[in-house]
Assembly symmetry: none
DNA sequence: TAGTCAAAAGTCAAAGATGGTCAGAGGGTG
DNA sequence: CACCCTCTGACCATCTTTGACTTTTGACTA
């Protein structure tokens, strides 16, 4: 694998998958030691790979007996998924390509979009397609994503 | 061989052929070193020799663990349909909802989009979704439709 | 009970590692 | 000579890695 962050990401996802439970608890220090990196690297991995829009929930506690708990959120109701994604849109004034991609993939994982549809929509919403309108890009993405979700919420 | 670009092109195609996989991943820096040229020469080669029309798809990532991935794709057999639709886009400075609908339906009839995909795209490209930007609406529609056709031009 | 301390985890900004862009110089060919 | 490729390098954008400094928490102590 190319970089340590990807390796740690894979490792954590593997652990998550193997433990049947919906959540795993890790010690930041331990993971850092295992992969010979600084502890804050673990925060980086979590902040970039285990985000809310990707369907992960992370809690932690400091001090003695501290831990980081990573939970995979599985929402069974379409309306719940859409509602939570719309909240995320609310929370982000700027909608980067990265965030859009995460959201679309999430919709795929929740069974609401096909792989092809994700690819299709991603291209339409890409920086390249939207062009130079850097300022309006975010606005347009928001509106189109909202339109998409509205459409998906029927049926 | 005349110039370094041709040499690099041949080399990359060779590697692509030898690796049974449909894609190869390279490090720009490495290739540049191997052929003793500046890194941006690699971009030149890729931009001129590995285009979509020639049947290649290129993705990349910057930063630590960055890479350039070159993928061989099969071009869609209906290039003529796409070309004629692109001509239509050229001819219309303003892209009304109606025109968008016609184009999408045409793509459906040609078997390049499913009914659901048409519905989805139509909603995203509607006046309502694009919002108040009446001026830019046409521009954005054009760009997004072009992005769509570019995507549809290969499998 | 309040205060202190050590053991976690969190934050943030700088440095490092790649790839991308673009405009202008260089060169070959009709 | 004109034109079209090629080549180059300065500058930019993005992602990752690191480490110094901060905050939180529980246990222990006065």
């Amino acid at each position: 694998m190319r970089n340590i962050s990807d390796v740690i990401e894979q490792y954590l996802k593997q652990v998550l998958k193997e433990s049947q439970a919906e959540a795993i608890e890790i010690k930041r220090q331990d993971i850092a030691k295992r992969f010979e990196c600084v502890p804050s690297q673990i925060n980086y991995v979590i902040n970039t790979r285990f985000t809310v829009e990707k369907g992960y929930l992370v809690e932690s506690k400091r001090g003695g007996g501290g831990y980081i708990r990573i939970r995979r959120v599985i929402l069974h109701e379409k309306q719940d998924v859409l509602a939570s994604l719309m909240d995320i849109l609310q929370d982000h004034p700027r909608l980067s390509e990265q965030l859009v991609e995460n959201i679309l993939i999430r919709l795929f994982e929740e069974g609401m979009l096909s792989e092809r549809e994700v690819r299709l929509l991603y291209h339409l919403l890409s920086d390249e397609a939207l062009g130079l309108h850097a300022d309006d890009r975010h606005l347009i993405r928001r509106q189109q994503l909202l339109a998409l979700m509205k459409l998906l919420s029927y049926h």
